[in-house]
């Protein structure tokens, strides 16, 4: 083989090697993109299937939008408010919540919480297993101050349009759901055992709940 033939062959091999490399790289990139897309789609599908997916207010978009707020509990999403009272929705593992709030409590459970608070003062709320909350919603009753002024807040899954409140005199009224939540300031709600709060779930089931009785131990 002459020197020129060897150079031509070497040049051709180099070009061939380059072409093969580019093809391989493109194939690998394509495969990676397809896999990544599949992973994202799979993740999205998985998210929709989780109990938290039953609450639009807990969607990743809503949570991202809320990150800038500093008034609410960490990771919570402001759903609705009434005067100085704010209602937040929160989801995550109980252990995660407690760790972020300086309380050590081992738990692997996934919760959805309804938090009612007045910024800078305090508040409280209710948490339930994500599955239970997705199936039944949450009713939270906050009573604060000398007169134990009562504020009722409700977190309901997607598809619940309004919550019905019934007063002691038997009259009732509907409040439209905003971002999966409702809050009312009503001191005349029906006393137990009469149902004071009710709402119809998308599956057709009606949740009907009484208010708490007078506190004991006073």
């Amino acid at each position: 083989m002459s020197r020129s033939s060897f150079l031509i062959l070497r040049s051709r091999n180099a070009r061939l090697l380059t072409a093969v490399s580019i093809t391989l790289l493109a194939a690998m990139t394509g495969t990676a993109m397809i896999l990544a897309k599949g992973a994202v789609n799979s993740s999205a599908a998985r998210y929709r299937r989780t109990p938290a997916g039953a609450f639009a207010v807990l969607s990743q978009k809503a949570r991202r939008a809320h990150r800038a707020s500093i008034n609410g509990p960490r990771g919570a999403v402001l759903a609705t408010s009434l005067g100085s009272h704010q209602v937040y929705a929160w989801t995550g593992s109980s252990a995660e919540a407690l760790a972020s709030l300086h309380v050590n409590m081992p738990s692997a459970a996934s919760d959805i919480c309804l938090i009612e608070q007045e910024p800078g003062i305090g508040g409280g709320g209710t948490c339930g297993s994500a599955k239970a909350v997705a199936q039944h919603g949450i009713v939270g009753v906050s009573e604060v101050g000398d007169s134990l002024h009562r504020i009722v807040s409700v977190l309901v899954p997607n598809g619940v349009e309004y919550v019905t409140f019934t007063d002691r005199d038997g009259s009732s009224y509907n409040v439209k759901v905003t971002h999966n939540a409702v809050i009312v300031d009503d001191q005349d709600l029906a006393a137990p055992p009469t149902t004071a709060v009710s709402y119809k779930l998308p599956g057709g089931t009606t949740e009907a709940m009484p208010m708490p009785g007078a506190p004991s131990g006073l």
Binding site: P73, S94, A97, L98, A99, S100, L101, H102, V103, N104, M105, S107, I115, E116, Q117, G120, I121, G122, G123, G124, G125, T126, C127, G128, S129, A132, H136, I138, V139, G140, V141, S142, E143, V144, G145, D146, L148, P192, V197, M209, P210, M211, P212, G213, A214, P215, S216, G217, L218
Partner: protein, 137 residues
């Protein structure tokens, strides 16, 4: 040739790796990054705590489910008035089943650390009977 290139890449990457390691070390050492500023006044939680017995010492009472006849649960915040007197200043309840739901009280203590900063005290029920001392002085 390959060794030279590898050596060059290694030399270029070393500062980057060092920078990442240093940043991680600073983040871990920063108070608060991992909840290092935790200040909790009930070290034996979730065991029941002693009833508050001094000024500014309030306590949270859990598992007051009798008002729902075994259905639902409340978390109560009592204020200590002196002697053996206490006053209920806040109650958070849910009529949802206590086996699947729990309640908590949140209070903000604006001066807890002497700097006017806000501290959060979230206290969870977790269906545990008992009391939890809560101090905001």
């Amino acid at each position: 040739m390959g060794l030279r290139q590898a050596s060059t890449i290694f030399r270029r990457l070393t500062p980057l790796v060092a920078m990442i390691a240093a940043t991680a070390a600073v983040m871990i050492a920063t108070p608060g990054a991992l909840g290092a500023e935790a200040s909790y006044h009930c070290p034996n939680y979730p065991e029941s705590c002693a009833k508050a017995n001094g000024p500014n010492q309030n306590y949270i009472d859990f598992n007051e489910s009798t008002n729902y006849s075994g259905y639902g649960v409340c978390a109560l915040l009592w204020e200590y008035l002196g002697g053996s007197s206490y006053k209920l200043i806040e109650r958070h309840c849910t009529p949802n089943p206590e086996t699947e739901y729990h309640t908590f009280v949140v209070r903000y203590c604006p001066h807890i650390n002497g700097h006017g900063e806000t501290e959060h005290y979230y206290n969870y029920n977790y269906n545990l009977a008992g009391r939890q001392v809560w101090i905001c002085e």
